[in-house]
């Protein structure tokens, strides 16, 4: 009597029915290259790769960087959709390269890979994230309490109160939403969806006491009122946060506070 483990090992030796001998297909990666030390303009560069379509775009970029052209520059850290380093514009849509499978984005056509829009490109797929983080810092993304003494116990919160802002705690600050926002593309002064999402996370936190202050910051000319509800941010969010809804909730909080 064979154990299940041995059965599995036997089966692994034979190709599954319906599959070719090699799982690899040829994919063209069309990467937006920019190197300010070589040329003032960005150009497209094509790379032909033999790759398993069940692999991710990030694996393709690794193949290029490690085996083909070591000068290709991009950010990635955890490579598992948590750190938010590798947001890029893949086939015209902001995604995380580490969460995008090649088979899901039509590998028969060249896969275009560009840096996210609205931020200054430093090299290849690396952009200057400073304006993005500046907007993030501006909304005070930390717990503020008025008490001056050290707390002597935990700050309790009911599950319902926690649920109120659960969606916006998922943000990984990858900038996929902010760099998909056409209002942010214009002059970059708009706070952007990500900053508003992170303000939302504290505005609706029952333990926080600076909600009023954050609402005042977002009541600014470049605050929530510049949102045009185009839903680009919601579509782009790799964490599935309902970004536009969060922005609308901040707007509603501002209005009900006033009137």
């Amino acid at each position: 009597m064979a154990t299940p483990v041995l059965d599995k090992a036997d089966a692994a030796g034979q190709p599954e029915p319906g599959f070719a001998d090699s799982p690899y297909i040829t994919v063209t990666f069309r990467v937006r290259r920019f190197n300010p030390e070589v040329a003032a303009e960005a150009t497209w560069e094509d790379f032909q790769l033999e790759i398993d379509p069940k692999e991710r775009v990030l694996d393709g970029l690794h193949k290029i960087k490690w085996d083909v052209d070591g000068t290709l520059t991009f950010r990635r850290s955890c490579a598992h959709g948590i750190c938010g380093s590798d947001a890029m514009r893949i086939n015209g849509k902001n995604r995380l390269a580490c969460k995008t499978l090649i088979k899901d984005i039509n590998p028969e056509k060249p896969i275009t890979i560009e840096p996210i829009k609205g931020l200054t490109v430093l090299k290849d797929l690396v952009v200057d994230m400073e304006p993005f983080f500046q907007a993030y810092r501006d909304v005070m993304p930390f717990l503020v309490v008025k008490e001056t003494n050290e707390p002597t116990r935990e700050r309790y919160q009911s599950p319902e109160d926690r649920e109120r802002f659960d969606d916006t705690t998922k943000c990984i600050l990858c900038a996929a939403c902010t760099s998909s926002c056409p209002v942010f593309w214009n002059d970059g002064q708009y706070f952007g969806p990500a900053a508003i999402v992170n303000a939302h996370r504290f505005i609706f936190d029952s333990r926080d006491e600076a909600g009023e202050q954050r609402l005042e910051i977002l009541n600014d000319r470049d605050g929530v009122w510049r949102c045009r509800t185009t839903f680009n941010c919601t579509d782009a969010c790799p964490r599935g946060i309902e970004v536009t809804k969060a922005i609308q909730e901040v707007k509603r909080a501002l209005i009900t506070r006033r009137y």
Binding site: N35, T120, E130, P131, D220, D222, L254
Partner: protein, 160 residues
């Protein structure tokens, strides 16, 4: 393929000959979206909130006003062929229609002007083009509102 020593500028042979060297450095790329002294100051006040709310409320009111206006002018009682000086004079004899048209004029002009202001803010990138476009917009808005209001209130049905 270049065999010269190019590692100093960090450019490999894959990318071709380097344009810039240590002695001839690449121009510094100024981050265009950096918050500097020139970037707009943050505003305290509820103008944007009020403008946003006004757009929603005036929009609802305008649906009634404009559809009613179109119905009366173009559909009911003979349609567009009945419109003439006498028809307008007859309607403006009643304060109700005067107020209707006045409200429609003001709301439509302010609603449209605010919408265009938003579009200018979103699409005009340079502060100067913003200034001029908005100046033109505000001038046209004020002129149209004042002229329209003047006509509604000083309309003389016996004019020759």
């Amino acid at each position: 393929m270049s065999t010269t020593e190019t590692t100093a500028s960090g450019v490999g042979p894959v990318e071709g000959a380097p344009v810039y060297t240590v002695d001839n450095p690449a121009p510094l790329i100024e981050a265009p979206r950096k918050r500097t002294k020139k970037s707009p100051k943050s505003t305290r006040g509820n103008f944007e909130l009020a403008a946003w709310l006004f757009m929603r409320l005036s929009g609802i009111v305008l649906v009634v006003l404009v559809l009613g206006h179109l119905l009366i002018q173009l559909v009911l009682d003979g349609g567009v062929s009945k419109i003439g000086f006498a028809f307008v004079a007859g309607r403006w004899a009643s304060p109700f229609w005067q107020v209707w048209d006045l409200l429609m004029l003001w709301l439509a002009m302010l609603h449209g002007a605010n919408g265009l202001r938003t579009i200018i803010n979103d699409y005009a990138e340079r502060p100067n083009s913003r200034l001029w476009l908005k100046g033109l917009l505000y001038t046209a808005t004020v002129f149209t509102i004042l002229l329209g209001t003047l006509v509604i209130f000083t309309f003389d049905p016996n004019i020759r």
